[in-house]
Subunit: 356 residues, 4 copies
């Protein structure tokens, strides 16, 4: 963004997600102000959000929609200066569409998440690897032979299930959507409600964008020593308040691992305080999927600058042309060559007269 | 359809796809006239299509769009009686959209293929298993350790690649689409143009819906003994005319296996005369994916009967409500139970104020 | 064998395993007498075994040890002329070792099965693919999403589990050996006793070499419509007598599929009469694993002819040198090149002084 | 060991493998002297080995055989007090067998590595996960879509290949053994000599126990940016001396990542200075495979104490009975129940008369 001429200011999208050395480098080497520190509490987190808003941005770039929500709820004075925004995540897009339904969306926002070169890769291969990575870094547990429960079989959920299986785990999937449940079953996973899965899992990971997916009714059913973490978005996916209430004490047993001792003397380990495990205990997604996501961000901002006057205050998709351009650039950077349609083939696809 | 009150008449959608014993049973036990015989030539094939059209149908149900194409090109007299149609396949939908662009589509058609409960399952898990099955039945070849080239990474292509890998093959993917090519690479497959893949493959399968995907320029590059077949749609995916021209002789070495001896004395084996290998050498898709596809057909026809007056002469999707209903019925039939959203969760997904 | 100068006579090793067209071709084109017909009953089966013994062989080549057992129990007059034997299967080797323990083995036998170039490939990749193939040809069932119970996690069992998983099934393994059970679990399979698995499986396959692995106590626990078959060796792995006794009637619903209706009105489908499903319903193992197995047979016979005078009446392994020679020939035939140890590396592997 | 009554003294088996916090805890909480610090140089490493030898041990427990080699080459005075030893690794066992061939082995050693409950699990599932983990922690690279070259297809090599594939990599295997090369190919991997693989790989991992597996002839062939590391044993698997000689400069770009700039201006990244990547950049094998390995160590030491007088100065295997006992204990700890052979089945396996 900076190379393209923008003034860039950063805050965190998640209290545990900042890599402090990266933040320091952005400030020192790139002269980009960063208002974020790993492990900041909620108050500081919102203070930092307000700090970047204080510079009166023309464009907001969100990852979870906390920034735009703050604008809409508390900083409406800024609206006159803002020409548009972008959103990186599934969770954020769900919130934006709710805003749009409520007629609350006060400027056009591009759902970067919904670009094919974004969610096909970032959410699936990125989350797939990095969520598993976060669990292993936090616990050094062997996945082979473990029963791993993945809550949700969206793009993140199926990426995670695929990778956990690839490391030798037996994966159980929970879902609320019939179609995704059938897909999970046909991909070879066992599918059941969380109240059943709770009894069987060694490791639980929520990947839903919803809240209380693992709640107070599930904890008592779990095996002694079960591990619980979140690979979705906000730390509300696991009902930690309920867990705390039913626990005798909590003990930090390793970085990012809190051991809760329930009144029945069983212990449960919660990783990364229920925040995104790949950001809390690992380093987030690898560069080679984020490159496409961030290309979508950059292209979307350029598109906003050029076209904001014609865009309604709604959620917009990344134009297909930009999506395709990113795919083409990425494929090239991977050193992969593919076929091109011949003239004869193009014509065939546009005709219909020729059959058997 | 018959149980729902329809008069049903059948012809084949492909000259090699009829199972004669099934056809006989439909006639004998269900009193459904069938105009089809396995291995019929093109002339008979179209004669049979015209025979079912002679009964003056009100609804056409296609699998590849040969029926509707015949209506539009040669039997326009029937148009006044037809209220709508359905189409089962990707290939057929591509043709229908071309018709729509050409303003040639004379009645509304529902793209059954595009229902999620159809192409997610039938095209992926169905074609995946049955194409592999067709190859094994035709050749009894061991897939473990073989280099298998899959042309195309659409729903059928990825199903096939997944299953060939699952049987121990090393899969190479060719594509014309940048995005799908990146997906194939990130799914662990080698991606390259067909002219490179031609030198490396032991087995080639086209899954594209296009023509001449393997053509006269590729055959001479192939290894001695390479196997070539089609898992896509029409028998034009492989340019057999070119192959015949460059061959000294052709010999049938096993049911559904023709060995072509090229002038350079290398041999290539073509399976099922380049027609759909899962229909030619195996039994097509298993019932437990076709149940969802045919539920879409049945629901679509009911929908047409009730709503045809309000539908434009265009390609229509299966209403989401019907798609979801089928998913729910299917999941139930699989004996799988899942979670339901709580009221709190529904509300959360519809709200946007609550973030970090 | 014939090309090497042997007089060869064939009988079946299993009543359902003969491919009649192959038998006919061996007689007609190769002048090799074959005493076998697909589907022969037990009486004819043993009549045929005796017919080949009537030619007074010098070497017996077994696949399951029925031939040598007949010699030892009923045709001891032949012993003076026999210089040795070979055995192809795990099951046969288990029987031979029991003979050796009982001091009943009257001539040296080479356990071809135990050659690495045999059981690593034939039992694993061969059985893996062909057992799955047999099930699909018999039933055209979709494996994706099915719960498949594999009894046994030996070489055949793990080959089958690997391939069933590769086709999208959720595989449950039963075992009697602790070590193999841990391996199965760490390979991502669910492991449990058969009495538990019986309630969960859609498809059951025995791969044990033992008897009554699925017995009268298991059938009543199974789901309505469950499929039961044998991928191991003899048809005693499933207790069909017990099943018949508890059934109201049996009906053939498709080639190689018998539907048993239990007194509780649930139905179970038994494939291939409980005989080896890959031989009954498919074509047995592909040529590209049998080539190594049969090379072991041929090399072992040559070895016997040269060395029988020095071999005790015991079970012998294929000499490592022959095993390696076959590996080298096979790798070459696959067109694969590999590295060779450098002199420096050879020396390093033989030294011990050099460490950190 | 301590709980069993032993006096235990620890040194490192590898200069980079010590976790300093664990060492501190052993000293502080368990009163076990530890002579090791992460990153010690060779001189200190051997000084520490000599320090533990100074306590005049009765039993040596090795992981790579540096300890016993030091005894045999430099501390022969200790031999009179030593009753036996154990060895944990494939590499160490290769060295011990070389010692035995040279008649240099001066006391009995038990090859713990060769126990089934050790190398089937530790070397395969342990190294498989932890080598991948080490690479990801060192680089945060996405494995999906990368070409990963694994040198060696022994137990460690196949574990690594399995896990890299499970994370979406395209794995290429190099081997010197024909049999293992065929297995790798039939497991779906591409097999080729290192000089070919060198041109194709994005990431290279040696898992051989040999030296100079990647040497000066391979580096110039590699792609710009290729990553090279060792998952085998000693840091001699990669010829870093040759690499240094052909490099213009070396730069540390991240913890455990050294970037070598060759004279042709291509860069290569070497991880963990060519030492075991899972120990250097991650935390070694997870507890749930090391439990079986260490149970073998403990049982072997107990066995030595009781039986050393009857053991020759040779390499001994872990008695099968102990191996089975460990399997049984482990399975129990995993909460897995399995079947037991019935009396009828036991009898059947010991009989041979009953066939078809």
């Amino acid at each position: 963004m900076k190379a393209g001429g923008a003034d860039v200011y950063l805050c965190a999208s998640n209290p545990l997600s900042t890599q402090d050395d990266v933040a320091a480098s952005l400030i020192k080497h790139y002269n980009i102000p960063v208002f974020a520190v790993k492990g900041e509490n909620n108050e500081i987190y919102y203070k930092h959000i307000n700090a970047v808003l204080d510079i009166k941005p023309q464009i907001t770039m969100d990852d979870g929609a906390d920034l735009i929500t703050t604008v809409l709820l508390k900083r409406r004075d800024l609206l006159k200066g803002i020409i548009g925004g972008t959103e990186e995540t599934t969770t954020g897009v769900v919130r934006l569409r709710a805003m749009a339904r409520d007629k609350a969306l006060a400027y056009p926002v591009i759902a970067v998440n919904d670009a094919l070169t974004k969610h096909f890769f970032d959410n699936r291969y990125g989350t797939g690897q990095s969520a598993v990575d976060g669990i292993i870094r936090a616990t050094n547990i062997l996945l082979a032979g473990k029963a791993v429960v993945g809550a949700g079989y969206g793009w993140c959920g199926r990426g995670f299930a695929m990778r956990a299986k690839g490391l030798g785990a037996r994966v159980i999937v929970t879902e609320v959507d019939h179609l995704k449940a059938i897909e999970a079953a046909m991909d070879g996973f066992e599918v059941m409600p969380m109240r059943e899965a709770a009894k069987k899992g060694d490791i639980f990971v929520t990947l839903t964008g919803n809240l209380n997916v693992i709640d107070g009714s599930h904890f008592p059913l779990m095996k002694d020593g079960a591990i619980v973490c979140n690979g979705g978005h906000f730390n509300s996916e696991i009902d930690l308040k309920a867990l705390k209430k039913m626990s005798k004490f909590v003990k930090s047993v390793r970085d990012f691992v809190d051991e809760y001792t329930l009144r029945n003397n069983k212990t449960l380990c919660v990783l990364g305080e229920g925040r995104l495990i790949n950001l809390a205990a690992a380093e987030g997604h690898p560069a080679s999927v984020m490159d496409m996501s961030f290309a979508n961000q950059a292209f979307s901002v350029r598109y906003l600058v050029k076209n904001y006057k014609n865009l309604e205050n709604n959620v917009h998709i990344v134009p297909e042309k930009l999506d395709n351009e990113i795919a083409s650039l990425k494929l090239n950077s991977m050193g992969i060559k593919i076929d091109a349609l011949t003239e004869e083939q193009k014509e065939y696809l546009n005709s219909w007269q020729l059959g058997t």
